[in-house]
């Protein structure tokens, strides 16, 4: 049964890690724009995304 002396703290620590990560994400504003984040993943961050001639390429 000695093993629970390690296992319980490890389990708690991992859970706590997840909790801290979630709260960090919340604080850093990652829940502010869920729709935008879903869209942004679709466009490559390169030259073609910003047409210089102002034309509509959609």
């Amino acid at each position: 049964m000695d093993v629970i002396a390690y296992l319980i703290p490890i389990a708690l620590l991992m859970g706590l890690l997840g909790l801290v990560a979630f709260i960090w994400a919340l604080r850093s504003g990652q829940w502010e724009d869920l729709d935008g984040a879903a869209m942004r993943v679709l466009h490559d961050d390169d030259e073609t995304t910003a047409p210089t001639d102002g034309s509509d390429r959609t």
Binding site: L19, I23, L26, E32, D33, M39, H43, A50, P51, T52
Partner: protein, 766 residues
């Protein structure tokens, strides 16, 4: 990081912008004059001077926040941000897709906000600057605290449950008392702080209710959680067998899930009035007695001032036209399809669009007393009235809480008096009753069905905005429609056959130069690539357009102005094309009905629902539409207040009304009606006021929403029945003193899961 890369494009960008634009104040004119492949719809462009909204921070950075319209996809984000970042001095440009806001930051003095805004408007995205301190952010602080409470409760529930499962299997096996107590202590250490933190939303609300000496669902919740934690702590200290830490924290977690879902659904509908005010033109050009022009904020405009409204601008305040002749588009305000002529002496209303020529207006009432402000006021009144609707869940809670408390107290008294048990043990049993009866499944019964129902409707292009909209929709017996933009598409379409391809091409070449709806309909029907050039084009307000081609005078406008006899005119809107005074083509227009409008009306009637039509348009047009759709009850020429009055009349008569409308003039009635729907093409205000928004050119979403509403209300009731059934089984056991933490955990989780699974049936329901 993004800011550096595209900077070298700045020169080109400025070139292309600089080449096209004419004068600085007229963003709208600029947008109209570009000859890009996608013409900008000038009606949706709101002209406002962004300078007044620039905030300069101490670090030398200037901030500007804008609402972006017509924002649809990933490409829009890329285009707008890329274009703004291409300007030198711009540090960041970030679009929030959820709130449709664009935040621009630049180094003060290195970029011109007017240029930035104009560049985006030129891409086809109308912008409205706003003051962010006046509008709450999309994810409110309450949302955030609910989310973190949920996260903490979830973490604690998972870990405590892990330990509890060990303890429960220990009961059957050989777990020693020492190990069990150790596990109880660890559970206590995890769950007690978590309960204190995550239980706050419930404790606060319960406290508020008690302060007003009333009961809500949070009172039994708080009591159960607090008592369960205290009792479990006592048991742990005593080295006892039964600790309810898992029940207390799991309960909180489930309840917080329900609460968060519910809160999200409600938060969307909140900022109705604030968004509406952003629509108002934000500055007025005042002409002083000495002829000097100056820009004044709307709220500083007094009665009797003379203001100048340029072509393409929205009229900032109500007033009388005193100089100049122009066409005024009031579709957003009154629902009329065709613009009205504004001659000296005519009344003009704030929020309408001046189409053809500059006019001078003497203001009649101060800015907070305009027709638009009146609409806002009517809406606020209506929304207060609607808050009186009591949701099914709240009605259940009202009965549930007292019953539970009486039951727990009776259990305590019963065990002490009848069974002669010690007060401590009797207390244990009555606390167990409170824990078992805690309305976990009950609290999930409604939000889960709502989420599934909204998800299903969303896939059908229907957005449910207010939390209880479906519940209210279920009870309706009357549907009131608006005409323009709701039963019809709100777009004039060229019909008839009094023209040929050549005359159409010629008319199109002329019509392209006007913002008049009829001209736009002609231009839309003409192929883009016509090579006809018209010179010296001018627009005569109230008459039409005139220009010259190879020396011949070409007129496109009203029949009498084109040299015809006005007696020959048809009964619908029409314009004629005349070459050198000779009419060679006539164009007739029709505001098209939505293709399935007739079917929808028939289906509604077959469902036993009354249908009415209230329109701001003229009696002849409204009567024709009502007749063709088979609607017997209709009223024409309704002002916003008249529509509200009719809805209140229906309400008084005991009818529950669904209002379907799109114009700004419908906003108050949308807010007044028992429940309301708007097409996605509606004015912003109406979209904010409506409970449900639907996409697409069809009207059938009204039927779909109604069907889903009925199905989901049925499911909610089933869920309540399930929750009560579970209570009927578990409560006698608890009262009999046979409840254990294992029973509590199993009963609570299984009833919650059962309720959720039942809600999911809505996905497969026809």
């Amino acid at each position: 990081m993004n800011a550096v890369k595209p900077r070298r494009r700045a020169y080109e960008a400025e070139q292309s912008v600089g080449a096209d634009c004419c004068d600085v104040g007229a963003m709208a004119n600029f947008a109209a004059s570009t000859t890009g492949p996608k013409p900008v719809d000038i009606d949706s462009v709101i002209v406002a001077d962004p300078q007044a909204f620039v905030r300069i921070h101490d670090d030398g950075l200037a901030h500007l926040d804008l609402f972006v319209e017509e924002l649809h996809c990933a490409a829009c984000i890329g285009k707008i941000e890329g274009r703004v970042l291409a300007f030198p001095g711009v540090v960041s440009a970030r679009i929030n897709m959820s709130t449709r806001r664009l935040g621009i930051v630049w180094r003060e003095g290195e970029a011109d906000p007017v240029m930035l805004v104009r560049a985006v408007v030129a891409l086809g995205y109308p912008l409205t600057p706003f003051d962010p301190s006046l509008i709450e952010s999309a994810i409110s602080s309450e949302d955030k605290s609910l989310l973190s409470a949920m996260a903490v409760a979830g973490f604690a529930a998972a870990n405590v449950m892990l330990l509890s499962v060990a303890v429960w299997s220990g009961h059957a096996g050989d777990m020693g008392e020492g190990t069990r107590t150790l596990f109880h202590w660890i559970s206590a250490l995890i769950s007690l702080p978590a309960v204190v933190y995550a239980g706050q939303p419930f404790f606060k609300s319960a406290f508020r209710a008690l302060q007003h000496s009333s009961l809500n669902m949070d009172v039994p919740i708080s009591l159960a959680v607090i008592l369960a934690s205290t009792m479990s702590l006592y048991q742990t200290v005593q080295g006892g067998q039964h600790a309810y830490f898992d029940a207390a924290i799991t309960l909180l977690f489930f309840l917080l899930v329900g609460r968060y879902l519910d809160h999200r659904a409600r938060a969307r509908a909140r900022s109705a009035a604030t968004h509406l005010l952003a629509l108002q033109a934000s500055a007025a050009t005042v002409i002083d007695a000495d002829g000097h022009q100056r820009s004044v904020r709307i709220r500083d405009v007094h009665e009797g001032m003379v203001i100048l409204v340029a072509a393409g601008e929205r009229v900032p305040v109500d007033g009388l036209a005193i100089d100049g002749i122009s066409d005024i588009d009031a579709q957003l305000l009154s629902g009329e399809t065709l613009p009205r002529l504004a001659e000296p002496g005519a009344r003009v209303y704030a929020g309408t669009l001046n189409l053809t020529a500059p006019i001078r207006v003497r203001t009649t009432v101060a800015a907070d007393n305009t027709l638009l402000a009146e609409i806002v006021r009517l809406m606020e009144l209506a929304e207060q009235g609607r808050a009186r609707y009591v949701r099914l869940a709240d009605r259940v809670a009202k009965i549930y809480s007292p019953v539970v408390h009486v039951l727990a107290a009776a259990t305590f008294v019963g065990w002490v008096l009848i069974a002669d048990l010690g007060w401590q043990e009797a207390m244990m049993i009555s606390i167990a009753v409170l824990i078992i009866t805690c309305p976990c499944a009950l609290a999930l019964a409604v939000p889960v069905v709502q989420v599934v129902a909204s998800g299903r409707l969303l896939r059908a292009g229907i957005l449910v905005k207010s939390a209880d909209a479906l519940e209210r929709l279920n009870g309706i017996d009357t549907v009131v429609f608006d005409k323009t933009g709701t039963l019809t598409l709100g777009k004039l379409r060229l019909v008839g056959d009094n023209y040929n391809a050549d005359t159409l091409a010629l008319a199109g070449a002329v019509a392209r130069h006007s913002r008049h709806p009829l001209s736009k309909a002609v231009a839309a029907a003409t192929p883009e690539d016509s090579a006809i050039t018209i010179s010296a084009i001018r627009e005569v307000p109230g008459c039409g357009l005139e220009g010259y081609r190879d020396g011949a005078r070409i007129r496109l406008g009203s029949r009498s102005w084109c040299g015809g006899n006005s007696q020959d005119a048809g009964d619908g809107p029409e314009i004629c094309l005349a070459v050198d005074g000779e009419i060679c083509a006539t164009f007739e227009f029709l505001d098209e009905l939505r293709s399935d409008a007739g079917d929808v009306i028939r289906t509604l009637k077959s469902m036993g629902i009354d249908v009415e039509l209230l329109s701001g348009d003229t009696a002849s047009v409204t009567g024709r539409v009502a007749g063709s759709l088979g609607i017997e009850k209709w009223q024409a020429a309704c002002l916003p207040a008249a529509k509200v009055a009719r809805l209140e009349e229906l309400d008084q008569a005991g009818h529950r009304v669904l209002m379907v409308g799109d114009g700004m003039n419908d906003a108050p009635s949308l807010a007044t009606a028992f429940v309301s729907m708007s097409p996605v093409t509606a004015a912003d205000v109406s979209q904010t006021a409506a409970d449900i928004i639907f996409q697409g050119a069809a009207l059938s979403p009204v039927i779909t929403a109604l069907k889903v509403a009925r199905a989901s209300t049925r499911l909610v009731k089933q869920n309540f029945a399930l929750a009560f059934l579970y209570n009927a089984i578990a409560v006698p056991l608890a009262v009999a003193g046979m409840a254990t933490p294992l029973l509590a955990a199993v009963a609570m989780s299984s009833s919650s899961i059962l309720v959720t699974v039942n809600a999911l049936r809505l996905r497969i329901l026809r």
